[in-house]
């Protein structure tokens, strides 16, 4: 079996913020009734996290769970564990009206870090990204210029951005342009 690599294989760029493709990240899309206790337990067993509330992202590094919509969660696990976690989850959810699918290889993940990280993303997404409005613990699904993307914050100066793998190159180029030296806007 050939070794799996991520879309851009850790490409990075240094500008007013550092943009880096973070490599492989295990991701499971889980759909079902989020108020179901069986579902909540399956999430807890896989990630150690409780069921997130509306637009909450409970993430530590490569493990966590994000609220995607009223009936959808994004479960994050280390890439190497994804098959085992998915099997355990599918087993726990048998008999429940729910669906868990491994989408790890359909996605690309970027990290934007630095003092100006908010500005870089603010240029691309129609989202209020001031420190009062957007903080660690929240997730926002939106668009990055012309493609869909979701992002949350690891800490006050670090964003994690998820997009479709097929759009990874486009998003990386967008982020590079948005992070060009001298392109600070100074709003955040």
């Amino acid at each position: 079996m050939s070794e799996p690599i991520s879309a851009l294989n850790h490409a990075s760029y240094d500008g007013i913020a550092t943009v880096e493709e973070t490599g492989l990240q295990g991701m499971i899309t889980l759909r079902g009734d989020l108020s179901d206790k069986v579902l909540a337990k399956a999430v807890k067993d896989a990630t150690g996290k409780k069921m997130p509330g509306q637009r909450e992202a409970l993430v530590d590094g490569q493990t966590g769970v994000c609220w995607m919509s009223t009936d959808e969660l994004l479960v994050l696990v280390p890439y190497a564990d994804v098959e085992a976690k998915l099997a355990a989850m599918t087993n726990a959810l048998s008999g429940t009206h729910a669906l868990a699918v491994n989408v790890s290889d359909a996605r690309a993940v970027f990290q934007i870090s630095g003092m100006k990280a908010r500005e870089v993303l603010g240029k691309l997404a129609p989202v209020e990204l001031s420190a009062e409005a957007f903080q660690p613990g929240q997730i926002r699904r939106s668009r990055l210029a012309q493609v869909a993307g979701a992002f949350w914050m690891d800490d006050d100066q670090t964003f994690r951005v998820v997009c479709f793998r097929s759009a990874a190159d486009y998003v990386f180029k967008l982020l590079k342009v948005a992070a060009q030296p001298g392109s600070e806007v100074g709003v955040y």
Partner: protein, 109 residues
């Protein structure tokens, strides 16, 4: 720029994050209906200057469909509400009445 609050994810989403889905609360006339009813269902749409009800989809977001009541003349938004309904809820009608007394849209007023 139109900004609608998505009733599912609670986000104030601006127009470019949404996809317009045309007029709201259409009643389908399918097999068994008369030609006139079917014609009206297919082609006859409201095109008001003022209060209007529309369907929108939070396409670059949670992906859910929802309804919005707004004014086509001023872009004022009276409210957004769940897609799981066949007519505007009373609080939306009240909100419109407060700002546009005597409004009428199809059979609602």
């Amino acid at each position: 720029m139109l900004i609608l609050n998505c009733p599912y994810c609670g986000v104030d989403a601006e127009e470019t994050e949404l996809a317009a889905g045309g007029e709201a609360h259409l009643k389908r006339f399918g097999p068994g209906s008369s030609d006139n009813e079917f014609h009206d269902y297919l082609f006859m749409r409201e095109n008001p200057r003022g209060v209007h009800f529309e369907r929108w989809r939070h396409s670059n977001g949670c992906g859910k469909w929802f309804h919005a009541a707004r004014c086509t003349q001023t872009l004022e938004v009276f409210g957004t509400y769940s897609a799981q309904t066949t007519e505007p809820p009373q609080e939306i009608k009240d909100a419109i009445t407060a700002k546009r007394p005597g409004w009428k849209w199809r059979d609602y007023e």
